[in-house]
């Protein structure tokens, strides 16, 4: 595994995503849902909303890094607000 150049932060990053996928798979099995139409006027399931959240969060982090430049953890706060909005309204 040396060639993959693992670090603890990146391992935690992928671990978190993997954990989210497991949780959402479990939720989908335990509490099946019907897709709903939100503000984007497209049908979304919980999994779709997780994808939109993760993809959007990546862009929020990059935008924060490019425009603000420091206090990167604060970008995660913005991502959290974004995630709440996505799960509530999308």
């Amino acid at each position: 595994m040396d060639w993959m150049a693992w670090t603890w932060p990146t391992a935690a990053f992928f671990g978190t995503i993997a954990l989210m996928l497991v949780i959402f798979t479990g939720l989908a099995i335990r509490f099946p849902e019907t897709p709903r139409v939100g503000v984007l006027r497209i049908e979304t399931t919980r999994g779709d909303r997780l994808f939109i959240t993760l993809l959007g969060s990546a862009f929020i982090n990059l935008a924060w890094l490019g425009l603000v430049g420091d206090n990167q953890p604060l970008a995660l706060g913005v991502c959290l607000i974004y995630a709440i909005c996505v799960f509530r309204w999308v």
């Binding site: 993959m4 150049a5 693992w6 670090t7 990167q72």
Partner: protein, 290 residues
């Protein structure tokens, strides 16, 4: 009442695909993420760099310029290939021997490997021995794709149009063939003109396949590497250095693995976003029955 049979062993059938995707996509992607936060001087030794490479890349004009060129390239080829493909499909014989003949001829460019296409056009465009280059020179047109930016751009765009318009045309043709004759009969009864038939019957019925064509062409052109690399090598200067060419120069030419990894992750995110938008639009079109 009959019980629904469940057989969880079917999940094992998915296993080969999972393993394939893990080795071809997930593990390389994880490695790139790991590289993007570290610095290396080779010898498999890595030093923590945090978000430094991302910061560098976001402030680097080189990447933004390559992105602009890439968007311009994809925009131009879509603006040419989609209307041209529809035009060709509309004018193809709908049945009989000629229809089959056209389909075979149109498929030929699609079967040629990228590097061969690049080599064909590289020679074709040469002023000394190439048919295109020599003809243009004989006509007194100042054309030289190795030295002139406009010539280089025209060459790679015409090459892409030559290579891939057939794909759009074939997809549009498939869309047209699926329209039942009753629609055309109704149009004739209403005395609809040719434009109205296209606008209200053919175009809506082709919308689904056209979305697929646009998605495929956009993604392919956004990731294009081999053809422009073989023809112009990214030059003259950096005039045709598209994103992937720039990325390879950075990663393999300069061995700047950290910045190149950060660059490729941003490249990947843009592609992921655009693919998701196209996919969502396509799925929604499907649901509307188009």
């Amino acid at each position: 009442m009959q019980q629904k049979t469940t057989n969880q062993k079917a999940w094992f059938l998915v296993l080969p695909v999972l393993i394939l995707v893990a080795f071809s996509a997930v593990i390389p992607l994880m490695t790139v993420v790991n590289y993007s936060v570290q610095d290396t001087f080779g010898n498999n030794q890595f030093f923590w760099a945090g978000l430094e490479w991302f910061e560098d890349m976001l402030g680097d004009e080189r990447m933004w310029n390559a992105l602009q060129r890439q968007l311009l390239f994809s925009g131009i080829i879509l603006a040419i290939e989609v209307p041209l493909g529809i035009f060709v499909a509309l004018n193809m014989p709908k049945s009989g021997v000629w229809s089959s003949f056209c389909l075979v001829v149109m498929s030929l460019p699609l079967l040629i490997p990228w590097n061969v296409v690049g080599t064909i056009w590289q020679i074709f465009g040469r002023v000394d021995i190439g048919l295109l280059g020599a003809t243009l020179a004989a006509l007194g047109i100042d054309y030289n794709y190795t030295q002139d930016t406009v010539s280089a751009w025209v060459t790679i765009i015409v090459m892409d149009v030559w290579h891939w318009t057939s794909l759009v045309a074939l997809l549009a043709f498939a869309g047209l063939k699926s329209i039942p004759d009753a629609y055309y009969q109704a149009a004739r009864i209403d005395q609809a003109n040719r434009w109205a038939v296209f606008r209200y019957i053919e175009l809506p019925k082709m919308a689904g396949v056209l979305m697929i064509a646009i998605l495929l062409r956009f993604m392919d052109s956004f990731m294009i590497y081999t053809e422009p690399f073989v023809v112009t090598g990214g030059g003259p200067g950096n005039a045709t250095t598209l994103l992937s060419i720039d990325l390879v120069k950075m990663a393999l030419g300069q061995f700047d693995l950290g910045p190149a990894a950060a660059f490729s992750l941003m490249y990947f995110l843009v592609i992921l976003l655009i693919s998701w938008v196209f996919y969502t639009v396509m799925v929604n079109l499907d649901k509307k029955g188009l």
